[in-house]
Protein backbone atom coordinates (compact mmCIF):
# COMPACT_ATOMS: atom_id res chain seq x y z
CA UNK A 1 0.00 0.00 0.00
CA UNK A 2 1.42 3.39 -0.90
CA UNK A 3 1.75 6.17 1.61
CA UNK A 4 -0.80 8.18 -0.34
CA UNK A 5 -3.43 5.54 0.16
CA UNK A 6 -3.04 5.82 3.91
CA UNK A 7 -4.40 9.36 3.76
CA UNK A 8 -7.99 9.77 4.79
CA UNK A 9 -8.61 11.82 1.67
CA UNK A 10 -7.25 11.14 -1.79
CA UNK A 11 -4.62 13.29 -3.42
CA UNK A 12 -5.57 15.02 -6.64
CA UNK A 13 -7.03 18.32 -7.61
CA UNK A 14 -8.78 20.37 -4.97
CA UNK A 15 -12.46 20.64 -5.94
CA UNK A 16 -13.87 23.97 -7.11
CA UNK A 17 -15.41 24.60 -3.70
CA UNK A 18 -14.73 26.79 -0.69
CA UNK A 19 -12.02 26.16 1.90
CA UNK A 20 -10.49 27.91 4.90
CA UNK A 21 -7.05 29.04 5.95
CA UNK A 22 -5.91 26.87 8.86
CA UNK A 23 -4.43 28.83 11.76
CA UNK A 24 -2.99 27.32 14.93
CA UNK A 25 -5.84 28.58 17.14
CA UNK A 26 -8.17 26.29 15.18
CA UNK A 27 -6.00 23.15 15.14
CA UNK A 28 -8.02 21.41 17.85
CA UNK A 29 -11.41 22.77 16.81
CA UNK A 30 -10.93 21.60 13.21
CA UNK A 31 -10.39 18.03 14.38
CA UNK A 32 -13.17 18.15 16.94
CA UNK A 33 -15.79 19.78 14.73
CA UNK A 34 -14.74 18.47 11.29
CA UNK A 35 -16.54 21.29 9.46
CA UNK A 36 -17.75 20.71 5.94
CA UNK A 37 -15.13 22.66 4.01
CA UNK A 38 -13.60 21.47 0.77
CA UNK A 39 -9.96 22.05 1.70
CA UNK A 40 -7.61 23.73 4.12
CA UNK A 41 -4.69 25.99 3.36
CA UNK A 42 -1.71 26.39 5.67
CA UNK A 43 1.18 28.84 5.63
CA UNK A 44 4.14 26.69 4.62
CA UNK A 45 6.58 28.44 6.98
CA UNK A 46 4.51 27.47 10.03
CA UNK A 47 5.26 23.81 9.33
CA UNK A 48 8.99 23.92 8.66
CA UNK A 49 10.00 22.10 11.83
CA UNK A 50 10.73 18.41 12.12
CA UNK A 51 8.68 18.02 15.28
CA UNK A 52 6.28 19.89 17.52
CA UNK A 53 2.58 20.38 18.04
CA UNK A 54 1.96 22.37 14.83
CA UNK A 55 3.29 19.74 12.42
CA UNK A 56 1.47 17.01 14.30
CA UNK A 57 -1.77 19.01 14.06
CA UNK A 58 -1.30 19.52 10.31
CA UNK A 59 -0.62 15.80 9.84
CA UNK A 60 -3.94 15.06 11.55
CA UNK A 61 -5.78 17.75 9.60
CA UNK A 62 -4.24 16.50 6.36
CA UNK A 63 -5.72 13.08 7.03
CA UNK A 64 -9.18 14.65 6.82
CA UNK A 65 -8.92 17.45 4.27
CA UNK A 66 -7.16 18.15 0.98
CA UNK A 67 -4.34 20.59 1.62
CA UNK A 68 -2.93 23.67 -0.06
CA UNK A 69 0.46 24.95 1.14
CA UNK A 70 0.80 28.71 0.83
CA UNK A 71 4.26 30.22 1.22
CA UNK A 72 4.72 33.73 2.56
CA UNK A 73 8.49 33.92 2.96
CA UNK A 74 10.23 32.92 -0.25
CA UNK A 75 9.87 36.28 -2.03
CA UNK A 76 10.70 34.87 -5.47
CA UNK A 77 10.97 38.36 -6.96
CA UNK A 78 13.99 39.27 -4.81
CA UNK A 79 16.80 40.43 -7.09
CA UNK A 80 19.36 39.20 -4.54
CA UNK A 81 18.26 35.64 -5.33
CA UNK A 82 16.43 32.69 -3.80
CA UNK A 83 17.23 31.59 -0.26
CA UNK A 84 18.29 28.00 -0.95
CA UNK A 85 17.80 26.89 2.68
CA UNK A 86 14.25 28.27 2.69
CA UNK A 87 13.47 26.56 -0.60
CA UNK A 88 14.81 23.29 0.79
CA UNK A 89 12.44 23.55 3.76
CA UNK A 90 9.53 24.22 1.40
CA UNK A 91 10.45 21.04 -0.45
CA UNK A 92 10.61 19.09 2.82
CA UNK A 93 7.13 20.36 3.74
CA UNK A 94 5.80 19.34 0.32
CA UNK A 95 7.24 15.86 0.71
CA UNK A 96 5.86 15.52 4.20
CA UNK A 97 2.35 16.88 3.74
CA UNK A 98 1.72 16.10 0.05
CA UNK A 99 -0.35 19.19 -0.75
CA UNK A 100 -2.60 19.32 -3.78
CA UNK A 101 -1.67 22.97 -4.40
CA UNK A 102 1.50 24.93 -3.61
CA UNK A 103 1.50 28.69 -3.88
CA UNK A 104 3.84 31.67 -3.44
CA UNK A 105 3.54 35.41 -4.05
CA UNK A 106 4.52 37.78 -6.85
CA UNK A 107 6.68 39.78 -4.50
CA UNK A 108 10.16 40.29 -3.13
CA UNK A 109 11.21 40.09 0.50
CA UNK A 110 14.90 40.64 1.08
CA UNK A 111 17.78 42.87 0.05
CA UNK A 112 21.31 43.31 1.33
CA UNK A 113 20.99 40.30 3.66
CA UNK A 114 17.96 41.65 5.52
CA UNK A 115 14.51 40.03 5.28
CA UNK A 116 11.46 42.24 5.75
CA UNK A 117 8.97 39.40 6.23
CA UNK A 118 6.37 41.19 4.17
CA UNK A 119 5.02 40.83 0.63
CA UNK A 120 6.88 43.72 -0.99
CA UNK A 121 5.60 44.89 -4.38
CA UNK A 122 7.44 44.46 -7.66
CA UNK A 123 7.43 47.12 -10.37
CA UNK A 124 5.45 45.95 -13.40
CA UNK A 125 8.40 45.99 -15.77
CA UNK A 126 9.82 43.51 -18.26
CA UNK A 127 12.93 43.18 -16.11
CA UNK A 128 10.96 42.27 -12.98
CA UNK A 129 8.71 39.86 -14.90
CA UNK A 130 11.78 38.12 -16.37
CA UNK A 131 13.46 37.83 -12.97
CA UNK A 132 10.35 36.58 -11.19
CA UNK A 133 9.65 34.07 -13.98
CA UNK A 134 13.26 32.85 -13.90
CA UNK A 135 13.17 32.29 -10.14
CA UNK A 136 9.68 30.74 -10.25
CA UNK A 137 11.03 28.32 -12.88
CA UNK A 138 14.03 27.45 -10.71
CA UNK A 139 11.79 26.92 -7.69
CA UNK A 140 9.34 24.76 -9.65
CA UNK A 141 12.17 22.60 -10.93
CA UNK A 142 13.63 22.19 -7.44
CA UNK A 143 10.28 21.57 -5.76
CA UNK A 144 8.92 19.31 -8.49
CA UNK A 145 5.56 21.07 -8.56
CA UNK A 146 3.82 23.78 -10.55
CA UNK A 147 3.52 26.87 -8.39
CA UNK A 148 0.50 29.13 -8.15
CA UNK A 149 1.70 32.73 -7.94
CA UNK A 150 -0.51 35.20 -6.10
CA UNK A 151 -0.95 38.90 -6.87
CA UNK A 152 -0.21 41.04 -3.79
CA UNK A 153 -1.78 44.19 -2.38
CA UNK A 154 0.11 47.37 -3.20
CA UNK A 155 0.34 50.63 -1.29
CA UNK A 156 2.79 52.33 -3.64
CA UNK A 157 3.21 52.57 -7.41
CA UNK A 158 6.51 52.57 -9.27
CA UNK A 159 6.92 55.50 -11.55
CA UNK A 160 8.81 53.54 -14.21
CA UNK A 161 6.32 50.64 -14.52
CA UNK A 162 5.68 49.82 -18.17
CA UNK A 163 3.16 46.98 -17.88
CA UNK A 164 -0.26 46.62 -16.33
CA UNK A 165 -0.53 44.14 -13.49
CA UNK A 166 -2.29 41.59 -15.69
CA UNK A 167 0.32 41.97 -18.42
CA UNK A 168 3.00 41.48 -15.80
CA UNK A 169 1.40 38.33 -14.35
CA UNK A 170 0.63 37.00 -17.85
CA UNK A 171 4.30 37.45 -18.76
CA UNK A 172 5.38 35.49 -15.67
CA UNK A 173 2.93 32.68 -16.53
CA UNK A 174 4.09 32.54 -20.15
CA UNK A 175 7.78 32.46 -19.25
CA UNK A 176 7.69 30.07 -16.26
CA UNK A 177 4.68 27.82 -16.85
CA UNK A 178 3.33 28.68 -13.39
CA UNK A 179 -0.36 29.14 -12.66
CA UNK A 180 -2.02 32.01 -10.79
CA UNK A 181 -3.70 32.39 -7.45
CA UNK A 182 -6.02 35.34 -7.81
CA UNK A 183 -6.51 37.28 -4.59
CA UNK A 184 -9.64 39.29 -5.28
CA UNK A 185 -9.24 41.36 -2.13
CA UNK A 186 -5.70 42.27 -3.19
CA UNK A 187 -6.97 43.44 -6.57
CA UNK A 188 -9.58 45.57 -4.84
CA UNK A 189 -7.11 47.01 -2.31
CA UNK A 190 -4.49 47.84 -4.96
CA UNK A 191 -7.04 49.33 -7.33
CA UNK A 192 -8.45 51.59 -4.64
CA UNK A 193 -5.03 52.62 -3.34
CA UNK A 194 -3.47 53.29 -6.72
CA UNK A 195 -6.49 54.39 -8.76
CA UNK A 196 -6.52 51.30 -10.99
CA UNK A 197 -9.42 49.45 -12.62
CA UNK A 198 -10.08 46.17 -10.77
CA UNK A 199 -12.45 44.92 -13.46
CA UNK A 200 -9.86 45.53 -16.19
CA UNK A 201 -7.38 43.45 -14.21
CA UNK A 202 -9.77 40.52 -13.93
CA UNK A 203 -10.66 40.86 -17.62
CA UNK A 204 -7.00 40.95 -18.63
CA UNK A 205 -5.65 37.91 -16.79
CA UNK A 206 -5.07 34.73 -18.82
CA UNK A 207 -8.23 32.70 -18.16
CA UNK A 208 -6.82 29.19 -18.07
CA UNK A 209 -4.00 30.11 -15.69
CA UNK A 210 -6.08 31.01 -12.65
CA UNK A 211 -6.43 27.92 -10.43
CA UNK A 212 -7.43 29.29 -7.02
CA UNK A 213 -9.03 32.38 -5.53
CA UNK A 214 -8.37 34.07 -2.20
CA UNK A 215 -10.85 36.24 -0.33
CA UNK A 216 -10.12 38.25 2.80
CA UNK A 217 -11.03 41.37 4.72
CA UNK A 218 -9.15 44.66 4.69
CA UNK A 219 -9.25 47.82 6.78
CA UNK A 220 -9.09 51.50 5.99
CA UNK A 221 -6.34 53.47 7.73
CA UNK A 222 -6.54 57.14 6.81
CA UNK A 223 -7.09 57.14 3.07
CA UNK A 224 -5.38 53.80 2.46
CA UNK A 225 -6.83 50.29 2.36
CA UNK A 226 -4.64 47.81 4.23
CA UNK A 227 -4.76 44.10 3.42
CA UNK A 228 -5.11 43.14 7.07
CA UNK A 229 -6.98 39.81 6.87
CA UNK A 230 -8.71 40.75 10.09
CA UNK A 231 -12.38 41.01 9.19
CA UNK A 232 -15.14 39.72 6.96
CA UNK A 233 -14.95 40.07 3.20
CA UNK A 234 -16.57 43.36 2.20
CA UNK A 235 -19.51 43.61 -0.23
CA UNK A 236 -17.43 45.19 -3.00
CA UNK A 237 -15.00 42.26 -2.89
CA UNK A 238 -17.86 39.73 -2.94
CA UNK A 239 -19.16 41.52 -6.04
CA UNK A 240 -15.73 41.39 -7.66
CA UNK A 241 -15.56 37.70 -6.75
CA UNK A 242 -18.78 37.08 -8.70
CA UNK A 243 -17.19 38.82 -11.68
CA UNK A 244 -14.06 36.68 -11.34
CA UNK A 245 -16.04 33.45 -11.08
CA UNK A 246 -18.07 34.45 -14.11
CA UNK A 247 -14.86 34.88 -16.08
CA UNK A 248 -12.68 32.07 -14.76
CA UNK A 249 -15.38 29.55 -13.85
CA UNK A 250 -15.78 27.89 -10.46
CA UNK A 251 -12.42 27.62 -8.67
CA UNK A 252 -11.17 26.47 -5.25
CA UNK A 253 -11.81 29.53 -3.11
CA UNK A 254 -10.19 30.26 0.22
CA UNK A 255 -11.19 32.55 3.06
CA UNK A 256 -8.07 33.99 4.74
CA UNK A 257 -8.35 35.38 8.25
CA UNK A 258 -5.05 36.01 10.04
CA UNK A 259 -5.71 38.78 12.57
CA UNK A 260 -8.47 39.07 15.15
CA UNK A 261 -9.17 35.48 14.21
CA UNK A 262 -12.80 34.56 14.92
CA UNK A 263 -14.23 31.22 16.00
CA UNK A 264 -13.94 28.37 13.54
CA UNK A 265 -17.72 28.52 13.11
CA UNK A 266 -17.54 32.16 11.95
CA UNK A 267 -14.74 31.36 9.54
CA UNK A 268 -16.67 28.41 8.13
CA UNK A 269 -19.79 30.58 7.79
CA UNK A 270 -17.75 33.03 5.69
CA UNK A 271 -16.60 30.17 3.48
CA UNK A 272 -20.25 29.11 3.06
CA UNK A 273 -20.95 32.47 1.49
CA UNK A 274 -18.27 31.78 -1.10
CA UNK A 275 -19.69 28.29 -1.54
CA UNK A 276 -23.14 29.75 -2.20
CA UNK A 277 -21.74 31.91 -5.01
CA UNK A 278 -19.87 28.92 -6.42
CA UNK A 279 -23.06 26.84 -6.28
CA UNK A 280 -24.89 29.51 -8.25
CA UNK A 281 -22.13 29.47 -10.87
CA UNK A 282 -22.16 25.66 -10.96
CA UNK A 283 -25.93 25.89 -11.48
CA UNK A 284 -25.46 28.18 -14.45
CA UNK A 285 -22.89 25.84 -15.92
CA UNK A 286 -25.13 22.76 -15.52
Amino acid sequence: MTRLATRGVPLGPIPARAGIGLRSVHHDALLDERPDVAFIEAHTENYFHDGGAAVRALERARANYPLSLHGVGLGLGSADGIDAAHLERVRAAIRRFEPALVSEHACWGHAGGEWFNDLLPLPATEEAARLLAQQVSEAQEFLGVQLLIENVSAYVAFEHATLTEWEFLGEVVARSGCALLLDVNNIYVSSRNLGLDAHACIAGLPTASVREIHLAGHERVGGVLIDSHGSQVCEEVWELYRVAIARFGPLPTLIEWDNDIPSLATLVAESRRAQHILDQRHGLAA
Binding site: G52, V72, W115, D118, E127
Partner: protein, 252 residues
Protein backbone atom coordinates in the same frame (compact mmCIF):
# COMPACT_ATOMS: atom_id res chain seq x y z
CA UNK B 1 16.78 54.10 -14.81
CA UNK B 2 17.71 52.02 -11.76
CA UNK B 3 17.95 48.26 -12.14
CA UNK B 4 15.51 46.07 -10.21
CA UNK B 5 18.28 45.20 -7.75
CA UNK B 6 19.13 48.89 -7.23
CA UNK B 7 15.44 49.67 -6.79
CA UNK B 8 14.98 46.94 -4.16
CA UNK B 9 18.09 48.05 -2.29
CA UNK B 10 16.84 51.64 -2.31
CA UNK B 11 13.39 50.46 -1.13
CA UNK B 12 15.08 48.45 1.65
CA UNK B 13 17.17 51.47 2.67
CA UNK B 14 13.97 53.56 2.85
CA UNK B 15 12.37 50.91 5.06
CA UNK B 16 15.31 51.09 7.44
CA UNK B 17 15.52 54.88 7.43
CA UNK B 18 12.47 57.10 6.74
CA UNK B 19 14.72 59.95 5.58
CA UNK B 20 16.05 57.90 2.64
CA UNK B 21 14.23 58.54 -0.65
CA UNK B 22 12.86 55.86 -2.97
CA UNK B 23 11.19 56.33 -6.36
CA UNK B 24 7.68 55.23 -5.42
CA UNK B 25 4.40 57.05 -5.25
CA UNK B 26 3.15 58.10 -2.79
CA UNK B 27 6.40 57.92 -0.77
CA UNK B 28 4.46 58.39 2.48
CA UNK B 29 2.96 54.91 2.01
CA UNK B 30 6.38 53.35 2.50
CA UNK B 31 5.52 53.76 6.17
CA UNK B 32 2.96 50.96 5.77
CA UNK B 33 5.67 48.52 4.68
CA UNK B 34 8.02 49.86 7.36
CA UNK B 35 5.38 49.25 10.03
CA UNK B 36 4.46 45.82 8.65
CA UNK B 37 8.07 44.65 8.81
CA UNK B 38 8.55 45.95 12.34
CA UNK B 39 5.21 44.56 13.55
CA UNK B 40 5.89 41.10 12.10
CA UNK B 41 9.28 40.98 13.81
CA UNK B 42 8.00 42.22 17.18
CA UNK B 43 5.03 39.88 17.01
CA UNK B 44 7.35 36.91 16.44
CA UNK B 45 9.33 37.91 19.55
CA UNK B 46 6.13 38.33 21.57
CA UNK B 47 5.17 34.76 20.73
CA UNK B 48 8.60 33.45 21.69
CA UNK B 49 9.13 35.45 24.89
CA UNK B 50 5.69 35.76 26.56
CA UNK B 51 7.06 35.78 30.11
CA UNK B 52 9.60 38.50 29.39
CA UNK B 53 6.76 40.54 27.87
CA UNK B 54 4.59 39.91 30.90
CA UNK B 55 7.35 41.02 33.28
CA UNK B 56 8.38 44.20 31.47
CA UNK B 57 5.01 45.22 29.98
CA UNK B 58 3.96 45.66 26.33
CA UNK B 59 5.51 49.07 25.75
CA UNK B 60 8.98 48.30 27.10
CA UNK B 61 8.94 44.91 25.35
CA UNK B 62 8.26 46.64 22.03
CA UNK B 63 11.12 49.06 22.71
CA UNK B 64 13.49 46.21 23.49
CA UNK B 65 12.36 44.24 20.42
CA UNK B 66 12.74 47.25 18.14
CA UNK B 67 16.25 47.95 19.44
CA UNK B 68 17.14 44.29 19.10
CA UNK B 69 15.92 44.33 15.48
CA UNK B 70 18.22 47.26 14.71
CA UNK B 71 21.15 45.10 15.85
CA UNK B 72 19.89 41.73 14.61
CA UNK B 73 17.50 42.22 11.70
CA UNK B 74 15.64 39.24 10.27
CA UNK B 75 17.92 37.02 8.22
CA UNK B 76 15.24 34.65 6.99
CA UNK B 77 11.82 34.48 5.42
CA UNK B 78 10.88 32.33 8.40
CA UNK B 79 10.53 34.46 11.53
CA UNK B 80 10.43 31.53 13.95
CA UNK B 81 14.13 31.88 14.64
CA UNK B 82 14.23 35.68 14.85
CA UNK B 83 14.66 35.54 18.64
CA UNK B 84 17.79 33.41 18.59
CA UNK B 85 20.08 36.24 19.72
CA UNK B 86 17.57 38.04 21.92
CA UNK B 87 18.95 36.56 25.20
CA UNK B 88 22.46 37.72 24.27
CA UNK B 89 21.08 41.15 23.36
CA UNK B 90 19.37 41.42 26.75
CA UNK B 91 22.58 40.27 28.42
CA UNK B 92 24.52 43.09 26.80
CA UNK B 93 21.77 45.67 27.09
CA UNK B 94 20.84 45.07 30.73
CA UNK B 95 24.20 44.03 32.16
CA UNK B 96 24.86 45.43 35.61
CA UNK B 97 21.30 46.74 36.04
CA UNK B 98 18.37 45.60 38.14
CA UNK B 99 16.94 43.61 35.22
CA UNK B 100 20.06 41.69 34.20
CA UNK B 101 18.24 38.48 35.12
CA UNK B 102 15.88 38.96 32.16
CA UNK B 103 18.61 37.58 29.87
CA UNK B 104 18.54 34.20 31.65
CA UNK B 105 14.75 34.25 31.71
CA UNK B 106 14.91 34.76 27.93
CA UNK B 107 17.24 31.74 27.67
CA UNK B 108 14.54 29.59 29.27
CA UNK B 109 11.99 30.88 26.78
CA UNK B 110 14.32 30.38 23.82
CA UNK B 111 15.05 26.83 25.03
CA UNK B 112 11.31 26.18 25.09
CA UNK B 113 11.10 27.30 21.45
CA UNK B 114 13.96 25.01 20.44
CA UNK B 115 12.77 22.00 22.46
CA UNK B 116 9.16 22.29 21.34
CA UNK B 117 10.00 21.69 17.68
CA UNK B 118 12.67 19.02 18.18
CA UNK B 119 11.77 15.39 17.60
CA UNK B 120 11.91 13.24 20.75
CA UNK B 121 13.61 9.86 20.40
CA UNK B 122 12.20 6.70 22.01
CA UNK B 123 13.19 6.77 25.68
CA UNK B 124 15.10 3.89 27.25
CA UNK B 125 14.08 2.44 30.58
CA UNK B 126 16.55 1.55 33.31
CA UNK B 127 16.39 -2.09 32.22
CA UNK B 128 18.58 -1.09 29.26
CA UNK B 129 21.48 -1.00 31.74
CA UNK B 130 21.23 -4.77 32.09
CA UNK B 131 22.86 -5.10 28.65
CA UNK B 132 26.15 -3.95 30.16
CA UNK B 133 28.48 -5.54 32.69
CA UNK B 134 28.67 -3.70 36.00
CA UNK B 135 32.39 -3.03 35.57
CA UNK B 136 31.64 -1.19 32.30
CA UNK B 137 29.13 1.21 33.82
CA UNK B 138 31.68 3.93 34.40
CA UNK B 139 32.42 3.94 30.65
CA UNK B 140 28.79 4.26 29.55
CA UNK B 141 27.85 7.21 27.36
CA UNK B 142 24.31 8.48 27.81
CA UNK B 143 22.56 9.94 24.77
CA UNK B 144 20.01 12.42 26.12
CA UNK B 145 16.84 13.58 24.39
CA UNK B 146 17.16 16.25 21.68
CA UNK B 147 14.11 17.81 23.32
CA UNK B 148 16.09 18.52 26.54
CA UNK B 149 17.93 21.74 27.44
CA UNK B 150 19.77 22.36 30.71
CA UNK B 151 20.20 25.85 32.10
CA UNK B 152 21.66 27.47 35.19
CA UNK B 153 21.53 31.08 36.29
CA UNK B 154 22.89 33.32 39.02
CA UNK B 155 19.28 34.45 39.47
CA UNK B 156 16.07 32.60 40.48
CA UNK B 157 14.79 32.65 36.89
CA UNK B 158 13.09 29.27 37.05
CA UNK B 159 11.00 30.54 39.97
CA UNK B 160 10.23 33.68 37.94
CA UNK B 161 9.21 31.67 34.87
CA UNK B 162 6.99 29.32 36.88
CA UNK B 163 5.37 32.14 38.87
CA UNK B 164 4.59 34.07 35.67
CA UNK B 165 2.49 31.37 34.09
CA UNK B 166 -0.35 33.32 35.68
CA UNK B 167 -1.14 36.98 34.96
CA UNK B 168 -0.23 39.64 37.51
CA UNK B 169 2.20 37.40 39.39
CA UNK B 170 3.99 39.24 42.21
CA UNK B 171 7.72 39.84 41.72
CA UNK B 172 9.93 36.94 42.75
CA UNK B 173 12.36 37.61 45.59
CA UNK B 174 15.73 37.92 43.84
CA UNK B 175 17.50 36.93 47.07
CA UNK B 176 16.42 33.36 46.33
CA UNK B 177 19.73 33.22 44.49
CA UNK B 178 21.07 30.94 41.77
CA UNK B 179 18.93 28.25 40.22
CA UNK B 180 19.33 25.40 37.78
CA UNK B 181 16.69 23.71 35.75
CA UNK B 182 15.72 21.91 32.62
CA UNK B 183 13.38 22.42 29.70
CA UNK B 184 11.95 19.22 28.25
CA UNK B 185 9.40 18.75 25.50
CA UNK B 186 7.16 15.75 25.66
CA UNK B 187 4.56 14.65 23.13
CA UNK B 188 1.94 17.19 24.08
CA UNK B 189 3.63 19.84 26.20
CA UNK B 190 6.94 21.44 27.18
CA UNK B 191 8.00 21.34 30.81
CA UNK B 192 10.14 23.86 32.66
CA UNK B 193 11.33 22.72 36.07
CA UNK B 194 13.96 23.17 38.73
CA UNK B 195 16.65 20.61 39.25
CA UNK B 196 19.26 20.79 42.00
CA UNK B 197 22.80 21.94 41.33
CA UNK B 198 24.27 18.45 41.56
CA UNK B 199 21.75 16.95 39.13
CA UNK B 200 22.38 19.88 36.78
CA UNK B 201 26.13 19.19 36.83
CA UNK B 202 25.58 15.47 36.37
CA UNK B 203 23.20 15.87 33.43
CA UNK B 204 25.36 18.59 31.87
CA UNK B 205 28.38 16.29 31.99
CA UNK B 206 26.42 13.42 30.42
CA UNK B 207 24.99 15.82 27.83
CA UNK B 208 28.48 16.99 26.90
CA UNK B 209 29.45 13.42 26.07
CA UNK B 210 31.41 12.46 29.18
CA UNK B 211 31.06 8.85 30.34
CA UNK B 212 29.12 8.02 33.49
CA UNK B 213 32.12 7.70 35.80
CA UNK B 214 33.58 11.06 34.80
CA UNK B 215 30.15 12.69 34.92
CA UNK B 216 29.76 11.50 38.53
CA UNK B 217 33.14 13.02 39.38
CA UNK B 218 32.25 16.33 37.74
CA UNK B 219 29.02 16.47 39.74
CA UNK B 220 30.67 15.26 42.97
CA UNK B 221 28.08 12.50 42.93
CA UNK B 222 28.88 9.72 45.38
CA UNK B 223 28.20 6.10 44.40
CA UNK B 224 25.45 5.96 47.03
CA UNK B 225 23.59 8.78 45.25
CA UNK B 226 23.97 7.25 41.79
CA UNK B 227 20.93 4.99 42.03
CA UNK B 228 18.65 7.93 42.80
CA UNK B 229 20.18 10.00 39.99
CA UNK B 230 19.75 7.21 37.45
CA UNK B 231 16.20 6.59 38.61
CA UNK B 232 15.48 10.23 37.85
CA UNK B 233 17.01 10.28 34.36
CA UNK B 234 15.27 7.07 33.29
CA UNK B 235 11.93 7.82 34.96
CA UNK B 236 11.82 11.22 33.21
CA UNK B 237 12.54 9.57 29.87
CA UNK B 238 15.72 11.61 29.37
CA UNK B 239 17.87 8.78 27.97
CA UNK B 240 17.57 7.86 24.31
CA UNK B 241 20.74 5.78 23.88
CA UNK B 242 23.40 3.95 25.89
CA UNK B 243 26.74 3.09 24.35
CA UNK B 244 30.02 1.90 25.71
CA UNK B 245 32.81 4.42 25.43
CA UNK B 246 35.63 3.19 23.23
CA UNK B 247 38.56 3.18 25.62
CA UNK B 248 41.88 3.28 23.77
CA UNK B 249 43.70 -0.07 24.11
CA UNK B 250 46.76 1.51 25.69
CA UNK B 251 44.75 2.67 28.67
CA UNK B 252 42.88 -0.61 29.22
Amino acid sequence: MASLRELQHSFAAALRDPTVACAVSPPANLAIYRNNARAAFVSALELTFPVIRRRVGDDYFRQLATRYREQSPSRSGDLHWAGRDFPAFLDEHLRGGDYAWLADLARIEWSRTECSVAVPLPALSATALARFAAHDFEHLLFGLQPTLKLLSSSYPVFSVWLANQAENAPPVDQSLGPESGMVLSRTDHTEVRHINERMFSFLSALHSGLPLGESMSRAHLEVEALTGALEFVFAEGLVSSLTLNEVPLATK
